[in-house]
Symmetry: C2
Subunit: 345 residues, 2 copies
């Protein structure tokens, strides 16, 4: 059977802040049957993840990067692969059957074809499907790995999280609180601040847009210094965090969204402090830690079932909403995990 598949493309490389007009919806005829002797898996996409890092793949420079060393570039006019969840329509791959739920690399489209690369069968375990794109998916793993594997917290340590209401940041804060750390977050609106403090249990939260001197802001919130900084933003927040760190402090570099669309904002960290305080700054990608996935899922499900973990989702409906959902990330529109529901199950 053949249908029409809608998918999102970029019209040209995007080097500044993305705008909705940078994107368009394309259509193609799409077969829902697997070709004979093919290994393909045909997937009906249900939920797709909307993540800031995709902007780096859309830049002109991404086209010249080696895929092994950087995010794979996205070419104008081409299907954009993205993390998400779908249902198998047809499969020539013995590991997948019709009607299986799958998570992994699908696309910003209504349907995807996969060769099984970065794709797993999913047991929803009684949780909403969307959870498996966020809190029980890569966002959760990223938070878990960055906090526990990279920063190796000790109980009572002082943790700072930027973009604390974001898909990863809110989970970092919650994990750190459950673990027994003191947690301060920053976010970009009074509503976000209120939510994190009153609902998610952060010890303190501040609105960075209301602060003039981040260095003294952090000194105020951390009079005894920061032990762990989980960085989602880079730029001057990173500079201020490093200047306020304790000896043997650890910085997990997860994202630097403030620098993605503005190279002028690149951080100039005080490296003399990094030396004298023996600070470790470590970049990481959660994909390197798939061996932690079972541990992460078990821990997170325990928290969820005990009602100890709030799930912040920011779901918009319909493939056409992908560009606005994506563009809004760079204005800080989202609260929690931004997901587009492409189709109903």
């Amino acid at each position: 059977m053949e249908v029409t598949n809608k998918y999102i493309v970029i019209k040209a490389h995007i080097d500044g802040k993305p705008e909705e007009s940078d994107f368009e919806v394309k259509t193609e005829p799409f077969s829902l049957s697997v070709k004979p002797r093919s290994n393909d898996i045909i997937i009906k996409n249900l939920y797709v993840s909307i993540d800031p890092y995709q902007i780096n793949r859309m830049k002109t420079m991404s086209a010249s990067q080696k895929a092994s060393e950087f995010a794979v570039g996205i070419s104008p006019g081409q299907v954009i692969d993205a993390y998400g969840l779908g249902k198998v329509v047809a499969s020539g791959n013995p590991k997948f059957e019709k009607d299986d739920y799958v998570v992994g690399l699908i696309s910003w489209g209504e349907y995807s074809i996969s060769q099984g690369f970065i794709l797993s069968k999913l047991d929803p375990m009684g949780f909403p499907l969307s959870y498996h794109v966020g809190v029980l998916g890569l966002s959760g793993l990223t938070a878990y790995v960055g906090l526990f594997e990279i920063c190796k917290p000790k109980k009572g340590e002082k943790v700072f999280v930027s973009a604390a209401s974001g898909s990863v940041g809110n989970l970092v804060g919650q994990y750190a609180k459950h673990f027994g750390c003191y947690v301060v977050g920053c976010a970009g609106s009074p509503n976000k601040v209120k939510l994190l403090k009153e609902e998610l249990g952060f010890d303190e939260v501040f609105n960075y847009k209301e602060e003039n001197d981040l260095n003294s802001t952090l000194r105020r919130y951390f009079p005894d210094g920061i032990d762990i900084y989980f960085d989602n933003v880079g730029g001057e927040m990173l500079e201020a965090a490093i200047s306020n760190m304790n000896s043997h402090g650890r910085v997990a570099l997860c994202g630097i969204i403030s620098e993605y669309t503005n190279a002028e904002k690149r951080a100039i960290p005080d490296l003399l402090t990094v030396i004298y305080k023996r600070i470790t700054i470590q970049g990481f990608l959660s994909g390197d830690y798939m061996h932690i996935f079972p541990e992460f899922v078990t821990t997170t499900i325990d928290h969820l079932r005990a009602g100890k973990m709030h799930v912040l989702e920011d779901v918009s409906i319909g493939l056409e909403s992908v560009p606005s959902a994506f563009v809004g990330l760079f204005r800080g529109d989202n609260v929690g995990k931004r997901i587009v529901q492409v189709s109903q199950d």
Copy 2:
């Protein structure tokens, strides 16, 4: 018995490049006897270490730093403590006896009084006394710890060392070669380049002063990328090294001499590369690794006795030469470990 003790002081805080005129020699009456019931150790200084990091202690800002978090500030007119080697003249401390050799915290002076803090009895083990200030002292430990504990090399990995003819850098290169790494260094003169390549066994060495674009220089010397960067200089060399690192690369931040006297030169590392290549940047101080000292000494003595380790010493004679020896570090005058021999044994 009372003598006259000469010692070096700074006349005022030094915030730019140091000059000889920033220093002066002072004298004081000095008793060679220990006061009754005192725990003091009176030391005749033989060799004192001349290290770039001391400049950070001489800056105006150092006065306001907490000693626990930064180098202890040096006040104008006051005795300057420094790593070195001496001989005990008199001791009220049961751990030390007259005529013991000692290494540790003494001073840029002819005599020192110690309360035993950061001071050890020394068995020269048949090596020249000066070795225990350099290759068998903190410089050696710093090289050893930075390479093996911080960077954790694997055989065959590609190592880049800046200030490669400096007190620490030349040893890093030699350790890394003996361990089985490919080692490239940079230095600031043709003679240094020749020495490192022909005598010390570096695979490649370049003169950074002859290079216009460090990024492409490093790409030329490391077509397959850098696995380990042992940084002694900071600034644009650090930026270029990070841009040329391989996935899971490690940067040991040992010193950033290019930034010590010129804050304009602060590095702006490409943090997106740090994330995508999962790079770790770690500041360290060798003082945290005194538990490694026995292992370090054993390994180094083995290399020395096997004739596999070249010792680069740059010794000047007489306390009065301390200012010129120190100031010269920032012009790159030294080849290897800069030491002042204050007195003959």
